[in-house]
């Protein structure tokens, strides 16, 4: 080592989150145990409907705009990015590798441990799909959960992962789009995982929680159980559906419906609102009056249905994993339901979620130093930075308490 100590460069992480409503590019750097916001770009997403790309050219243009804004504010050109994946093209399943521990003493070696994992990874994804990620789940040795089986004795070693797969064509399209902007993709991360990193604390994840990221076009969820990711999924309904229902029921334009949704709609129907009217001014045909009960009824039946769809999706995944029906009880998920994403701002959403899931429910906002980013719709992109930090190669001189930095960064 030279006498002059090299000052380790903290990694600069760029995250790209392409949502149905907006595309956000965030550049952050970890300095003094906190994320320093280096660059930020945001554009209204064009050409994406319900998480599916319908017009690649328009999407490319808006992503390019967001990247350019982020580069301009950061003052340097982005090379490598982390990108989120979300929406109906993303799917997942549990893959399991089982190994009979060889040898007379049945002592698990490192090779055995790796072998079990490798056999899980050898399971081919369904045709037309590509594997994106493996999320580790606990290892079981003769049915017992063990942190590290190496050196322990047993017969049956079982390692499982939650494997995230993506529809091949649209993934190639996305890679091509970002590569076309001279961006290398370090890794794709699951959007709901990123959101959970931003809003769920370590304690929540350890005890068990269900994180719902309610976006504009889709709602993705991820279930943390006893400190690992048990399963994840997505329902193709989001905040835009509430707006659409209001458009249809009130016969108003999209922008008016969106405004009414943000200001007046609630996830809980109060029949006694029947006589309350809302007057909306500044419309082309003069002012209009709406019945508050109508607004709440339309919004609440949609949101309740959406939550119910998520509940069914979760229940279905759990049935696959456990081979039987699992009740979502506070005993199973002590930290309950955590709601985030742009559409989670709907009034009284936790009340509705609490009723549908039968679990304690709360809304969460990502914790960050940048005040303008403390909004639920930025949970995913902020979480991307947090999740990506884990992947970044440690700097030449690894700073002490690397994990502490992480924890402090996104403690909610």
């Amino acid at each position: 080592m030279s006498k002059r100590r090299t000052v380790p460069l903290p990694p600069r992480i760029a995250a790209v989150d392409i949502g149905t409503a907006k595309t956000v590019v965030l550049v952050g750097q970890v300095v003094d145990r906190s994320v320093r916001l280096l660059g930020f770009g945001e554009r209204r997403t064009e050409g994406v409907v319900k998480g599916v790309v319908e017009d690649l050219e328009r999407l490319t243009e808006c992503v390019h705009g967001a990247v350019a804004d982020a580069e301009a504010s950061a003052g340097f050109t982005l090379r490598n990015v982390y990108a989120s994946v979300n929406g109906p093209q993303v799917d997942g399943e549990r893959v399991k590798g089982i190994l009979t521990v060889p040898g007379r003493d049945r002592r698990v070696t490192v090779a055995d441990s790796l072998g079990a994992a490798a056999s899980a990874r050898r399971i081919e994804p369904p045709p037309g799909r590509m594997t994106l990620l493996y999320m580790a789940q606990p290892t079981l040795l003769d049915g017992r959960q063990v942190a590290n089986p190496v050196g322990m004795t047993g017969e049956r070693l079982e390692t499982s992962f939650w494997r995230v797969t993506h529809e091949e064509g649209s993934l190639r399209q996305r890679i091509g789009m970002l590569n076309g902007m001279s961006l290398e993709i370090n890794e794709f991360l699951l959007g709901s995982h990123a959101s959970a990193c931003a809003v769920a604390g370590e304690g929540d994840k350890r005890t068990g929680c269900l994180v719902l990221d309610l976006g504009a076009g889709t709602t993705s969820w991820i279930l943390h159980y006893r400190g690992h990711i048990l399963c994840a999924g997505c329902v193709p309904v989001g905040g835009e559906h509430v707006t659409n229902d209001l458009c249809s029921a009130l016969r108003v334009r999209r922008d008016v419906a969106e405004d009414i949704k943000l200001k007046f709609a609630s996830a809980v129907h109060h029949p006694d609102d029947a006589n309350k009217t809302i007057v909306k001014e500044g419309l082309p045909g003069g002012e209009l009056q709406f019945n508050r009960a109508t607004i709440n009824l339309v919004a609440s039946v949609r949101v309740r249905e959406l939550l119910e769809q998520v509940r069914q999706d979760v229940a279905g995944r759990l049935r696959q994993i456990f081979g039987r029906d699992v009740d979502l009880t506070p005993a199973f998920l002590p930290s309950g339901v955590i709601l985030t994403g742009g559409a989670s701002q709907l009034a009284e959403l936790p009340v509705a979620a609490g009723e549908v899931f039968g679990l304690p429910a709360r809304c969460a906002i990502p914790a960050t130093e940048a005040a303008q980013l403390r909004r639920p719709e930025y949970a995913c992109v902020l979480g991307l930075v947090a999740a990506a930090l884990v992947n970044e190669a440690p700097p030449r001189r690894r700073p002490a308490g690397f994990w502490d930095i992480l924890r402090n960064l996104f403690r909610s």
Partner: protein, 385 residues
């Protein structure tokens, strides 16, 4: 071409002919009526003087029993007679319930014959309630596709949309009567377009410029209001009526015709305000026509009707890749649906889906979750006022 009766109103099938029969007495002299059905008893009961009985030999005086195939075959067998009856009218308005065999089967045939004879064909069709069964709804949807292709403009009244209006406890018969009332209001409004003594007259040729070719996407509605600001209120009522169940997001139209009927105090300002309100919601950037009439018999109220249309694209737009439709179209007359057929079918369904109109259906447990929840679940909303 008799200038005295520029409109030929044709009731097709049981529902259509009985409706036309009920209205026949109260319509202005500019409207001639015709009833077309296979059921001899129903035809006799309709009370329409001018009648055509379909399928005399094949159906022997009975209805088609919900079989659209029988209905279309019966109409095709009577082509010569129907041509003769349809000749001479510049505007033909077809009224039918598409759930029935004759209504669903014969109406597209009639529309094609009338269009061939040079008439502008406007169809007023009702789609059955969802609770009348999936099969009836599916055959009505197929009929709508065929009708949409043959008629210049098709106005659809979805019975499901009426559930929002009737009291929750209303019996089914009351809901059907409600359908009748709305179709009647529509017929009255259309026949009033060309009534004599108008301040701002419209001529049947105007309809031709609005709906130049079959297959146009059309929206029609009518509204009535009383008291101060009645004209603007009537325009809003028209936008909110179940004849026009689509929010403004359903798409804008190139052509717009507005008819205002008011008391002697009707002002130009009133008319302009109504047109402005309708234009902002519906479009009408290429052609906007305004007709106005004074109705001395009803001085306190105002009625506003509109017909908005977007002509069918000259070159049929490339149909979306014929991915297997999740609903499974069945019973189509043609073995392989032509791209145009799929195209217009898609358009009709898309209107219901609002903002998500053109995107692929979003299926969750077999339901298209893009359609508003309250519509799918038949939840009645509190009244708007």
């Amino acid at each position: 071409m008799s200038p005295a009766a520029p409109i030929l109103l044709v009731g097709v099938g049981g529902a259509g002919s009985s409706l036309v029969g009920r209205l026949a007495g109260s319509l202005p002299g500019t409207v001639r009526c015709l009833a077309v059905d296979a059921d001899a008893a129903a035809l006799a009961a309709s009370g329409v003087a001018d009648q055509v009985q379909l399928g005399r030999s094949s159906l022997r005086g009975l209805g088609a029993g919900g079989e659209t195939r029988l209905g279309s075959d019966a109409a095709e067998a009577e082509t010569a007679e129907l041509r003769r009856r349809l000749a001479g009218a510049p505007v033909v308005v077809l009224v039918a319930g598409l759930g029935g065999g004759i209504g669903g089967g014969a109406t597209p045939v009639l529309a094609a014959l009338a269009a061939e004879a040079g008439a502008t064909v406007l169809a007023l069709a009702t789609l059955p309630f969802s609770h009348e069964g999936e099969r009836r709804l599916a055959s009505a949807r197929d009929a709508l596709v065929a009708l949409h292709r043959a008629a210049h403009g098709t106005v659809v009244l979805r019975n499901d949309a009426l559930l929002q209006l009737a009291p929750a406890s209303a019996p089914v018969s009351e809901l059907f009567a409600e359908t009748g009332r709305w179709i009647s209001a529509a017929i009255e409004a259309i026949s009033g377009f060309f009534a004599e003594g108008a301040l701002l007259p419209l001529d049947p040729g105007a309809l031709r410029s609005l709906l130049p070719a079959p297959g146009s996407r059309a929206a029609f509605s009518t509204g009535r209001a009383e008291g101060e600001g009645a004209v603007l209120a009537a325009a809003r009522a028209a936008l909110a009526s179940p004849l026009h169940p689509h929010g403004p997001e359903a798409g804008r139209h190139e052509h717009l015709l507005v008819q205002v009927v008011g008391g002697p105090g009707l002002t130009t300002g009133d008319c302009q305000a109504a047109v402005a309100a309708l234009r902002s919601e519906l479009g009408g950037d290429r052609i906007t026509l305004l007709g106005a009439r004074i109705d001395a018999a009803d001085p306190a109220s105002a009625r506003v009707s509109f017909l908005a249309a977007s002509p069918a694209p000259v070159a049929p737009a490339p149909a979306p890749a014929p991915s297997p439709s999740p609903r499974g179209r069945k019973g189509a007359r043609a073995a392989a649906p032509s791209p145009q057929q799929l195209f217009s079918f898609a358009q009709e369904e898309n209107l219901r889906r609002g903002l998500f109109g053109t995107s692929a259906p979003n299926l969750f447990n077999g339901e298209d979750v893009d359609v508003p929840t309250y519509l799918r679940k038949g939840i009645r909303l509190p009244s708007a006022d």
